[in-house]
């Protein structure tokens, strides 16, 4: 038995005991690669996630909302900064390489950002429910086996909780507002229902990397577990509280199984969007690429590539 394998086996035991590991330790290459893929995806999602919302900062309908949404979008950029740094600790890729991967289409980000934020209700919806969904996912990941990631997420979660409050305040305002405001909110929920549930990723049976990530303790809850938890503890109660009609006639709570059952989501569409066929994929990448290319000279002057 080679020393690497012994080391590896010992590593597995530690992970199974729920220990967290530091980048300075001797980590199996497969572990580093799996962590890299997951954290890079997360960092990309934060940076691309600024794009649907950024144009709503100027349009915020009050000074107070403007303060909140500008802080929120800034936080997302800050999260990207933290997460790229966490990913760099793995020692596999530099941030520049990760950003190039993104622009060349070699690295993915959360599919949900390939949909358009069309109205102010969408801006509120994203803050409340997409950030809400992200909190469930990130909350579970504060127990991830990769210690720097877990630590980074604890701080991020505090900020996300404020975004959700800001978003919910908009939802409340629209839900208790004029007929037009209520309709705008309903329209947002109708359009975002499916992408929101798909935010947690493919069904457990279809997920390519999930088993590996769970084995390494990088993920601690499965996509389906998180989806259910979100539906039960947040999404459905909030929609009901604000009198929003849920756009799925077949939705029901299965008392026996203790879970929400809903109409099948369109997973073919999900794949199509993740492969570039969503309504905003090109726009997002164009905007990111322009930001990158227009400022090549600035980064060169600043000596940061």
């Amino acid at each position: 038995m080679s020393s690497t394998t012994i080391n590896r086996d010992g590593f597995r035991d530690r992970i199974e005991r729920g220990e967290q590991v530091e980048p300075t330790e001797n980590l199996p290459r497969e572990y580093r690669e799996a962590a890299q893929r997951m954290i890079q995806f997360h960092a990309n999602s934060e940076i691309v996630g600024t794009l649907p919302e950024r144009r709503w900062i100027k349009k915020a309908p009050s000074l107070r909302r403007k303060r909140a949404i500008s802080a929120k979008v800034q936080d997302e950029a800050g999260h990207a900064q933290v997460l790229y740094r966490v990913a760099e600790t793995l020692g596999l890729k530099t941030r520049d390489e990760m950003i190039e991967d993104l622009l060349e289409g070699d690295a993915k980000y959360a599919n949900v950002f390939n949909y358009e934020a069309k109205t102010w209700a969408d801006a509120g919806y994203i803050a409340c429910f997409i950030d809400g969904a992200a909190m469930f996912r990130q909350g579970s990941l504060t127990e991830s086996s990769y210690a720097p990631y877990a630590r980074g997420l604890r701080k991020i979660c505090y900020e996300e909780s404020f975004h959700v409050k800001h978003g919910e305040d908009i939802i409340r305002s629209l839900a208790t507002g004029s007929k037009k405001e209520q309709e705008m909110l309903q329209d947002a929920v109708d359009r975002w229902w499916e992408p929101t549930l798909q935010f947690f990723g493919p069904r457990d049976d279809d997920s390519v990397h999930q088993d590996e990530l769970m084995d390494w303790g990088l993920k601690v809850k499965t996509n389906d577990e998180l989806r259910q938890q979100f539906l039960e503890e947040f999404y459905i109660p909030k929609l009901e509280q604000y009198g929003v009609e849920i756009p799925d006639d077949d939705l029901y709570y299965d008392e026996e199984a203790g879970r929400w059952e809903y109409s099948p989501l369109d997973w073919d569409r999900f794949l199509e969007v993740s492969r570039g066929g969503g309504p905003m994929n090109d726009a997002r990448m164009d905007e990111r690429t322009r930001a990158y290319e227009d400022n090549v000279w600035v980064r060169r002057a600043a000596g940061v590539n």
């Binding site: 107070r64 303060r67 909140a68 500008s70 802080a71 929120k72 933290v82 740094r85 966490v86 600790t89 909190m135 469930f136 909350g139 579970s140 504060t142 127990e143 720097p148 630590r151 980074g152 604890r154 701080k155 979660c157 505090y158 900020e159 996300e160 909780s161 404020f162 959700v164 409050k165 800001h166 919910e168 503890e233 947040f234």
Partner: protein, 139 residues
């Protein structure tokens, strides 16, 4: 709703009911300070008192004036803080009315934070300068 896995995931913050306050004898400003210890910053795991944002508490014939400030003028949590301070003070027996006064004439600096705030922020992974020279732990 969510357990320790989800720090800060208390969506009802700002709306929650504060624990009851017991006042021994006549209400004093110290009682009010103690009550205000329960008002947490909406974005950080520490109280406004520990952060040094509550600057003055004045009690006059059952009317309370709380003077507070913000770390920076663009703080998006301004309204939530105002409401929480007001609601906390209202729960104290013997208080008839509350005025919350946001002021900037004695601007906040990190030096205004209590030692306990520094420690808690450091533990929660909040980096400098708020944690007062703490470690940027994600590096």
């Amino acid at each position: 709703m969510l357990a320790r896995n989800e720090p800060g995931f208390d969506l009802a913050a700002g709306e929650e009911s504060f624990p009851p306050v017991e006042v021994d004898g006549e209400l004093t400003e110290e009682d009010l300070w103690a009550a205000l210890e329960d008002v947490e910053d909406p974005e950080l795991p520490v109280s406004l008192v520990e952060l040094g944002l509550i600057q003055e508490v004045r009690l006059e014939d059952g009317h309370v004036t709380v003077t507070f400030t913000l770390t920076y003028t663009g703080c998006p949590a301004k309204e939530i803080m105002e409401r929480m301070i007001e609601r906390r003070v209202e729960t104290v027996p013997g208080v008839d009315s509350v005025t919350v006064d946001l002021r900037y004439d004695d601007p906040w600096t990190p030096a205004d934070m209590h030692e306990s705030a520094r420690e808690k922020l450091g533990e929660a992974g909040f980096a400098c300068p708020l944690a007062g020279g703490g470690v940027c732990d994600d590096e």
